[in-house]
Amino acid sequence: MSEDENTKKRWKINLDEPAPLPKEQLWNSTKTFFGKASEILEKSRKHELQQNQDRIFRQNAMCPNFTSVLRLMTVRDGVTISHAPVGCAGYLNAQPQLFQGIPKELGRPELDFHWLTSNLSEDDVIFGGTEKLGEAIKLADERYKPRSIFVLASCASGIIGDDLEGLVREVQPKTNATIVPIHCEGTRSRIWQSGYDSVWHGVLKYLVKEPQKKQEDLVNIPASFSLTWIDRQELTRLLGKLGLRPNFVPELATTEQFETLAEAAVTAPVCGSLGNYLGYGLEQEFGVPFFNYPPPFGLQNTESWLRKIAEFTGKEKEVEQLIEEERAAIEPKLEAIRKAFKGDKATVLDWGGQARGLGLPLLTHELGLEVRGIGMYEYDEVIPEAIEELIEKVGDFDVTVADMQPYELERLFVKHKPDVYTTCPFTGGHFKRAETAGVRHHSFRGDPTPNSPQYGYIGLITYGNFLLRAHRHHTLNKTLGTHVRQPYKQKVYEQHSPFVKEDLKKEQSPLAKQEGK
């Protein structure tokens, strides 16, 4: 078998199983790496990335259950049921606030989200919780007549051994909605992004229908949690100019949008962590072509994203014209930003999910910033080419792969003292530094204001200008850096160990063993 066929075989998705393999087994994913980009490239080529390596000091991260909550909370005609004690899915209470800020005139659909919890108690963990789950499904079905009901498993439901499939077989005939069990138990995987795969597994297994017709102008986009409303508008605008329509799933999607996924011309990525499972699944089961890289932000990445979509939709000619027009429209503005950053010799550190980990270095490089390092929440072995291409264009840089673990990012900060730092605010407070312009990646999801996009051509300019303003004027960071306490003891800044268990460092990855390497 060729390397390519070997790889594809390895990534086989098995929909007969109730749940997908955890990412560390399926994509050889890791959340523990410290080193240079060139090293992660070499290691992923040799399947030498460490999966079982772990930290002797850990900090809060997400889990497969929480990521599934994030994914499914805004399905418009669906109801989410958390089969768990009450604390797992409290964030679902944020549903009404997520997109209501968008004016109806800008196209916000009618939104009325609902969620239930089976509210597992001490009795339930002894006697089993499926009866209460059945009740919750009945309530959801009667109250809202949804098209779909997503049932999210949890640590508790998993450990007590509740049989979700058995329950679904029993209650589905009495239920109007399609019930989709999602195996996103928190302890299922050490890599929380496995929850994304669990969601797609459920969608592929229970919702996607055999295509009735081919929709040649339809582009599936497994959107990331962080693809905001205004970013969606930009991608919709670009595809619209090619005569194409996006099918954004799962945020704000209807059940029908899941059902017709197999009718699309192509599945295009926004983030590998989030979308690979759906992309490969649709390709494997229904022959919908998929490409897994790059995400559409930054100039070159947006253009190669558009060109790849055009390839699958017969829009090769149109896309070149689009690119020419769009470039002409932004080039003077881009040049001005680039000149300013170059003049300032500004450096940048990016910290985010895989999409931003692999996408922002090139974007910030295009803006004229010097990329010193990136932090990624996880890394899948799926796309070494992406790293290779990045190194070629940007040069080698430091990479930390950690499921947040803000303590570890402290080391990159101490080493590089970057001028600009892009992040999500909840990931540990590194924006509270006087010397660094610590800024957000994306705005909140329902932000409809013109200042907020990051994707596509418009996003490159607005985000570029935003970074430049922040670089030159970051008094909030100064205020915080001057007056806010950090929780880390001084001596840890002098330590070099990444707090990975030394004895596990040399352990080979399961795939490397399997291939005799």
Partner: protein, 453 residues
């Protein structure tokens, strides 16, 4: 909007077991609230013996739900956590916990470390207390463990459990009582979205009476110091008929500290004066001091009401209203609006599932209103049922959680988030408690519809 008022409503006290599925509940699990409780103590560090997502889910679903309150010193992703996974489910998590506690001491700078366990250790049977005892015997760091498996209880349970653990494991067996010192309990950080402002207003008022006030959470005088002061109190003050009751009972048993119980946080002139009166009576505050404090505070407060009245007479003509929230807030708001501002009490939905035996106390506070109109009182935790109860009522004003906001606005109601969850506002030190809180509440309510005449 209708001003119709039904005067024939009777109390509807529905008994409901907590052990049912719930739609959109307005509280978190024991662990979630325990995390919030520890984080609210200055320089106290939670160490989670739990799955990797427990802290995060509660940051998003609990702390951010309390008026987007930030991660602060060691919250959010900075919080140490064992991040238990399949390995620990199979082989047990005790070694992982030991390693995590020891390394937390090395890395995180704190005055108190509190191990909080989630569902996983509770289900796989880790002996968390033994691990904690072992580590404790070899180190000098103050270390406490609270068993807060998520499935064992709700926000109120988690708050009680954490405080009980601290009292049992950290505080000394005996203490000398300090005259005039009081502890404040029953205001659950984050579950009570205005917790910090509430506590500070209570502190401000009682300080004026000459008392020393230990608010513990968000205490400007330090976290561990505040905890250490607990045993010396002359009185404990509890602002809930049931949340924290076990805590003050425990303190009574351990230190013989008596407690004063209030069914709710006072808002505005009347209830706050009553509250100050009760406290003064028990704590030997002189009549002169009490009178001068009330006079001074009331003068400012009613001056504010006076200045707001041009607008209020215009905008709030005997409007019927409903309140949805925990006992602590729902009762206080209803009484303030009905007794002092001329609003008509129509419906009160109590969402914290108070035990049967304290419900008469709550109902008494809501019956004893300066109005022929008595509100319908319902105990309900399910958001679908709450929506339907609100829908049926002819009201003009709704004080509730951000879950109600959008349908309230669609119905043309005046709407303000006063209870958990409040995803639609940022809350730092804001409070509707006391005299100052009464003024702030009038400002916030008026801001919903303020405009020129």
């Amino acid at each position: 909007m209708s001003n119709e008022v039904k005067s024939d409503q009777k109390f509807e006290s529905k008994t409901k077991s907590n052990n049912t599925p719930l739609e959109g509940p307005r509280f978190t699990c024991a662990l979630g609230s325990a995390i919030g409780t520890v984080l609210a103590i200055d320089r106290a560090v939670p160490i989670l013996h739990a799955g990797s997502g427990c802290g995060f889910a509660n940051l998003f679903g609990y702390q951010y739900a309390a008026g987007i309150q930030g991660v602060g010193y060691v919250g959010g992703c900075a919080t140490p956590s064992c991040n238990l996974s399949q390995d620990e489910v199979v082989f047990g998590g005790e070694n992982r916990l030991k390693e995590q506690i020891e390394n937390t001491f090395e890395i995180i700078d704190g005055d108190l470390y509190v191990v909080l366990n989630g569902c996983v250790p509770g289900l796989i049977g880790d002996d968390v207390q033994s691990v904690v005892n072992e580590v404790k015997s070899k180190s000098d760091y103050p270390l406490v463990h609270a068993d807060t498996s998520g499935f064992k209880g709700d926000s109120y349970f988690g708050y009680d459990k954490t405080l009980l653990a601290i009292i049992e494991q950290l505080l000394p067996e005996k203490a000398t009582t300090k005259k005039g010192l009081v502890n404040i309990f029953g205001v659950v950080p984050y579950q009570n979205i205005f917790w910090k402002g509430d506590l500070l207003e209570i502190k401000r008022l009682l300080n004026k009476l000459g008392l020393e006030v230990n608010v513990i959470f968000g205490d400007p005088e330090g976290g561990l110091e505040a905890l250490n002061r607990i045993p010396a109190a002359e009185f404990n003050i509890l602002f809930s008929p049931w949340v924290g009751k076990e805590v003050v009972e425990k303190l009574k048993e351990k230190y013989d500290t008596p407690y004063l119980l209030f069914s709710h946080l006072p808002i505005g002139g009347q209830d706050t004066a009553k509250f100050l009166n009760s406290v003064s009576e028990k704590l030997d505050v002189s009549a002169e001091t009490l009178e001068s404090v009330i006079q001074e505070e009331a003068r400012d407060f009613y001056d504010d009401v006076d200045n707001a009245s041009d607008f209020m007479i215009f905008a709030f003509p005997t409007l019927p209203f409903a309140v949805v929230g925990d006992t602590t807030y729902a009762v206080g708001h209803t009484r303030f609006l009905a007794n002092e501002l001329g609003f008509i009490p129509s419906l009160v939905i109590i969402t914290d599932n108070p035990p049967e035996e304290v419900r008469p106390v709550i109902e008494q506070s809501l019956d004893d209103l300066d109005s022929p109109f008595k509100p319908k009182v319902v105990y309900e935790q399910d958001s679908y049922n709450i929506r339907h109860l609100v829908d049926k009522e002819q009201i003009a004003v709704l004080l509730a959680s951000s879950k109600e906001k959008h349908y309230a606005l669609d119905k043309g109601l005046l709407y303000l988030s006063i209870s958990f969850p409040a995803f639609d506002r940022v809350i730092l030190r804001r409070t509707y408690t006391g005299y100052k809180g009464g003024t702030t509440f009038i400002e916030d309510l008026s801001a919903l519809c303020a405009g020129p005449f």
